[in-house]
């Protein structure tokens, strides 16, 4: 009987200790922060599917915590929530790394395409400058306007890069490069023709 009296308080204390399970707030906050970091690193754009999944994990985590919170205090168990928080955090960190890598790749591709377009436009403008002044220059006037328009468009590409619109910048730079080559071919053809004629002096018109 005495032994019974000694064990009962111990059992009660154990039950109370076990029943007072608390949600893993720090781990949940860390997971949420990791997902936020991933989002700010462009994950929603560059690894959209993976980002949706980590958001899903976060949702599952919140639901699990809510489910446990709704239970009678002695029956709560946040073990699964802890596991989900840890998974969400590690996945969010992986997704962030991947997003940063992909964004850097996209930026690199856009900057490279911009450089290629700049070189092409430079060559085109040099060809325009080679055209002789005077009467025969007239045939090149519209081509010159095109070359100037291409030069102006390069600024748009830079603005897109500055705004982190790397896909838009890359496609625009590619278009400029392509058009620049077409214009260069037109100038070369015109220059080849002009080369057969005599250069003339400029006149007032």
């Amino acid at each position: 009987m005495n032994m019974h009296h000694a064990v009962l308080p111990l059992l009660c204390t154990f039950a109370l200790l076990a029943g007072c399970a608390q949600p893993p707030t720090d781990q949940i906050n860390a997971a949420e922060q990791a997902v936020k970091d991933a989002q700010q690193s462009g994950a929603a754009t560059y690894v959209a599917n993976d980002y949706a999944k980590i958001e899903g994990l976060l949702g599952a985590l919140k639901k699990e915590v809510a489910d446990q919170d709704a239970k009678f205090a002695l029956l709560r168990d946040y073990g699964k929530a802890e596991q989900l928080a840890a998974t969400a955090k590690s996945e969010a960190e992986r997704v962030k790394t991947e997003a940063v890598t992909k964004m850097e790749e996209a930026k690199h591709a856009a900057v490279q395409a911009h450089q290629v377009a700049q070189d092409a436009v430079k060559s085109t403008l040099e060809l325009v400058a080679k055209a002789p002044a005077g009467k025969d220059r007239a045939a090149l006037e519209s081509i010159k306007t095109d070359a100037e328009a291409l030069k102006a468009s390069l600024n748009d590409v830079q603005m897109m890069i500055d705004k982190s619109d790397y896909l838009g910048a890359q496609t625009k730079a590619q278009a400029i490069h392509e058009k620049s080559q077409t214009v260069s071919r037109e100038i070369e053809a015109a220059l080849a023709k002009i080369g057969k004629g005599k250069p003339t002096a400029a006149k007032k018109k």
Partner: protein, 382 residues
């Protein structure tokens, strides 16, 4: 004794049957592997469809359920159940599979429709751009449009790249911007060259030509009428048409001349001030006109005062009717150019003082008016 042995044998048989039945039917996984694989396959399909980008809410809902269920599948991996025992996890996965399949089917149809729209819009814009380009070249008005044709071309190229990369939404958006640019080009041409379609202006030009012809009849001498839209030079003698020759104009000749270097060919009533024979001009033979005349100067001063002409620009001069320096010349800087045999013919039939009237057009159905009408239809279609 025999009965006891029979009881033991029967017991053993029953026990063995139970073991075999248990082995054959009892070891069922909590969730069949094929259900998990089916949902995984749907997830892959959704990723290929870029569901997270094109339908973020739908994919978000799928992903949330999938990650939750997958976590449960992993947690319950070592559980087995009786075949007759229901599994809420399997039920939830099958429900997700159905829901996911419906989303895949819907997004596939949506993407196909978007792709079709993007393809159709792109083809439409490319066709329109070619048509406008042909019309613009036909009336030598490329320079009127400035940088717009290149900007439009770049947008169309960009839209094509987006389309080829499967970004149909971006392709459509870029095509729409190109369409707006094309409409703006048509509007610019209409604004800049609308006088060619103006009945009042054409009547005015017709009157100018009529007066010149009348002068030729009255003074029993030669006169020249140049129509820019028709690209013709007509020689009159004693008020009668002698012949017409095709001409080439300035590189921006379709416009009205406003200042030096604009490449436009002037419109007005002029006279020949000098005849330059071979050796006196680089263009075979030339007839120098008295541009700028009083009317040109008055207009120039007015436009400069109103800020329509840059302060540093001069009015220009040395407008001529001349031959061809070499066979490769397609345009002039603002003059009227004839083939050399035609130039020789005209040169011998005019004198210093012969009137030369240059007009925009003499017919309402002139090439520029027709091109503008065509572009107007195109603009409405865009």
């Amino acid at each position: 004794m025999i009965q006891k042995k029979l009881r033991i044998a029967a017991f053993n048989l029953w026990g063995g049957a139970l073991v075999i039945a248990g082995t054959l039917t009892g070891c069922v996984q909590a969730v069949p592997q094929e259900v998990v694989e089916a949902v995984e396959s749907i997830d892959r399909n959704l990723m290929q469809l870029r569901a997270a980008e094109i339908a973020p809410t739908d994919y978000g809902s799928f992903a949330r359920q999938w990650v939750t269920l997958r976590a449960r599948v992993e947690a319950e991996d070592d559980l087995i159940r009786w075949p007759w025992e229901s599994s809420d996890l399997e039920f939830a996965l099958r429900r997700l599979q159905e829901e996911g399949s419906r989303t895949v089917a819907r997004l596939t149809a949506q993407q196909a429709a978007l792709r079709h729209s993007a393809e159709r819009q792109l083809a439409h814009i490319e066709d329109r751009m070619k048509l406008i380009s042909v019309q613009v070249s036909a009336i030598d008005s490329r320079l009127v449009l400035g940088t717009k044709p290149v900007e439009t071309d770049l947008l169309v190229k960009q839209a094509r790249t987006f389309y080829e990369q499967g970004y149909y939404g971006q392709s459509l958006e870029t095509s729409d911007r190109a369409a707006h640019n094309l409409a703006a080009q048509a509007a610019t041409l209409s604004r800049e060259l609308g006088r060619y379609a103006s009945r009042d202006r054409i009547v005015q030009w017709q009157q100018m030509a009529k007066n010149t012809i009348e002068w030729s009849r009255t003074h029993r001498t030669s006169a020249i009428v140049v129509s820019k839209a028709e690209r013709t030079l007509t020689l009159y003698k004693d008020g009668h048409k002698v012949l017409s020759y095709p001409v080439r104009l300035g590189f921006n000749g379709i416009r009205e001349k406003r200042y030096q270097g604009d490449g436009a060919t002037p419109e007005g009533r002029y006279r020949i001030t000098h005849k330059r024979g071979q050796g006196q001009t680089q263009f075979y033979r030339a007839l120098v006109l008295d541009y700028p005349n009083q009317e040109d100067r008055r207009r120039f001063v007015h436009e400069r005062k109103t800020g329509h002409i840059p302060a540093l620009r001069g009015i220009g001069g040395q407008i001529e009717i001349h031959g061809v320096e070499n066979e490769l010349m397609a345009q002039t800087l603002g003059c009227v150019m004839l083939d050399n045999p035609h130039m020789a013919f005209i040169f011998d039939r005019v004198d210093k003082g012969t009137p030369v009237t240059i007009v925009g057009a003499l017919n309402e159905q002139n090439s520029v008016a027709l091109a503008l009408a065509h572009l107007s239809v195109t603009r409405d279609e865009i």
